[in-house]
Structure formats: structure tokens, C-alpha cells
Symmetry: C2
Subunit: 161 residues, 2 copies
DNA sequence: TAATTACCCGAGTACAGTAGTCAGGAATTA
DNA sequence: TAATTCCTGACTACTGTACTCGGGTAATTA
């Protein structure tokens, strides 16, 4: 299975956008800074998400990205496969030709697991992730954890790696 | 997440052993040949499985490997982690330090997914995979598919890659 | 006891894919 | 027109997988 920073960054960026849905477009540089993602790398991922119709972009000053659909209508599975090609964990990519002409001893197992993962990730929407995240932030501002602010101006310690 | 041929081969080899549980030890070369795995590579995996106490070995002519426990008592999760280290899909490896001091926007999601996969793979034993496989083989010998025999003497077309 | 069979172990290597960089271009706004 | 922002493709370093290789060591058989 492919589940790398590529997919993780994509979901993170989408949640970041979803948290600001309804407002002005969000600049790439802001998303990158907030989530510690290399801007040039993030650019590739956003391009893929745009090609898949998950986000829209506008250029020029004040431009940026925004969700193309409501957060309730975008699933995590959708985001990952947009940048990642596949979630399949079988060796043969589902072709059932992993052993001579037929499936190998464990083909069915990986097929089942793939299905399990798919169902799980299709069941989670950006809206849910936002809700979960907002809840966490409330706990934090109550003093449980130290944290960067997510809304409003922020900018410090860029050098910190 | 790490789910590569390493883990897949390990499970395949274990099922191969489980299908012959109770009989004489199975030689490495036989497992390798039947499942199209490089013998030298398989050796590494079996060594790891042995270190984890999942299989036992005996040397000399007539030697080979056998399961250390009953097939009902060996789960797929167990086999994979024996050769693969981890199934965790979070970026931070579960440490919750993926963003500054706290977890990143999507940490909880990956944690949930990891748990999902773990529960699934812990719920599948070698015994079940054997049963499933024997069923498939019955279908096959009824004429549904062409197939190599798995029990009994066999040996042909080694050159076929 | 010598030969054979088979497991044991560590080091080394080719390749692919990920993660990330870089340079230049095109659209939009002020 | 100047600044800002997205857009695109090519390029590179690195890591980890998927192997190979060469020498062991233990057990069995003749």
C-alpha cells in the first residue's frame, strides 16, 4: 500500500482549507507555513488536487485556493487517491495473476484488507476532521497544551527546523 | 504504512507451512519454489520468523521448518510485525509530535486507521487462510481454473518465469 | 568419518519511488 | 507596469526494498 507523506500532506492541506471554507482564497504559502510543508512540494500536490476537481484556484494578488465542494462532500479516500494513484495492497494490483495463472495463497486476504481500508477512508469527510480539530483546539486554549494559533496573524521562528 | 513483499511473502510462507502442519518439516527450497520466492530472500524472512518464535527449524537431510504453534493461534498481524517492524501509518510513529509540540491536523485520523488495520489483521488466523485456500482449491479441481497441485509430488516448468 | 543436505548469518548491490529543489512562465490586481 | 500568486516541467538526493553472494554450522546418512 502507498500511504506516504504525499497523501498525508494532501489531507492536511485540505483540512486547512476546509477550516477556512467560505472565506477568501488561501495562499499556498500560508498553508505551507502553517503545516510545515515545503511550498514547492505542496505546489505539486495542490496541482493534482486541482486536476481532480477537488479544489479551485485563482491567481494574482489576493488569489489562492479554496474547496470546490462542501467539506461534507469530500472524503479522505477521495483526497488520497487524487495524489496517490492507489490504495490497493495486493501484489498484483487486483489482477489476480499473482501466482501463475491464478491468485496466490494470500490474494483474498489482501483484497479484503484493501476493501476494509477503502470503506474506512470513504467514511471520513473533511467536515468531520474539522469538527474533531476544532474540538481539540478548544481543549488546547483551555490550557491543556501549548499551541500555535491557527487563525489570525502568526509568524515566528521560521528558522526552527 | 509498510506493507511490502516482505510482509506478503512472510504470510504466504506461513500459510504454506500451515497447509502441511503435522507432517514432516518443509524445506526452504520447496516453499520458495511453490510460491515463486527467491530462496536467499526467503531465508531472511524465515530467520526473522524463527527469532520471533513463530516457527521452528531442524537441520540436516530431511530437515526444514514447521509452525511453532497451532495455525489457530497465529494471526496475520503477528506474522507481519515479525518481519516488518510496524504497521503504524502516522507520520510521527504514534509519538504525537508531528506538529511543533502537538499532533498535526490529521494525527487522529491516521491513528484511527492504524487501529482499524491492526484489529482486522489480528482477527485473521492462519487456520482461516488455510480453510479459505482449501475451498478455492476444491473449486479449482472441479474444473473452474487450471492450477498446479499443492499437495503431493510436483515439479515442472522451472524455467517459466 | 566423510559426504550431503539443509539451515544460519552478515555484507554488499541495483533499482525505484519518495521527497524535495529549481527555473521560468502565465494570469490577475493595483 | 510592477507585484503577487498560481502553473509547469525537469532535475536531484536519498532511503528502503528486494534482492545476491560467500562463507559458515548443525544434523543425518552411508
Amino acid at each position: 500500500m502507498k500511504l506516504t507523506t504525499r497523501g498525508r500532506y494532501a489531507v492536511t492541506a485540505m483540512v486547512d482549507l476546509a477550516l477556512r471554507a467560505g472565506n477568501a482564497p488561501v495562499a499556498l504559502a500560508d498553508i505551507a507555513r502553517r503545516n510545515h510543508i515545503s511550498p514547492a512540494y505542496l505546489e505539486q500536490l495542490l496541482a493534482a488536487l486541482r486536476r481532480q476537481g477537488l479544489i479551485e484556484s485563482s491567481r494574482g494578488p489576493g488569489g489562492g485556493y479554496r474547496l470546490a465542494r462542501a467539506p461534507q462532500q469530500i472524503t479522505v479516500a477521495c483526497v488520497i487517491s487524487a495524489v496517490n494513484e492507489t490504495l490497493d495492497v495486493t501484489r498484483c494490483g487486483g489482477a489476480r495473476d499473482c501466482h501463475d495463472e491464478g491468485p496466490c495463497l494470500t490474494h483474498g486476504l489482501w483484497e479484503d484488507l484493501t476493501e476494509h481500508i477503502r470503506v474506512f477512508l470513504e467514511g471520513v469527510t473533511l467536515a468531520e476532521l474539522c469538527a474533531r480539530n476544532r474540538r481539540a483546539m478548544t481543549d488546547i486554549s483551555a490550557g491543556v497544551l501549548p499551541l500555535r494559533r491557527v487563525h489570525g496573524p502568526r509568524q515566528s521562528s521560521l528558522a526552527a527546523k
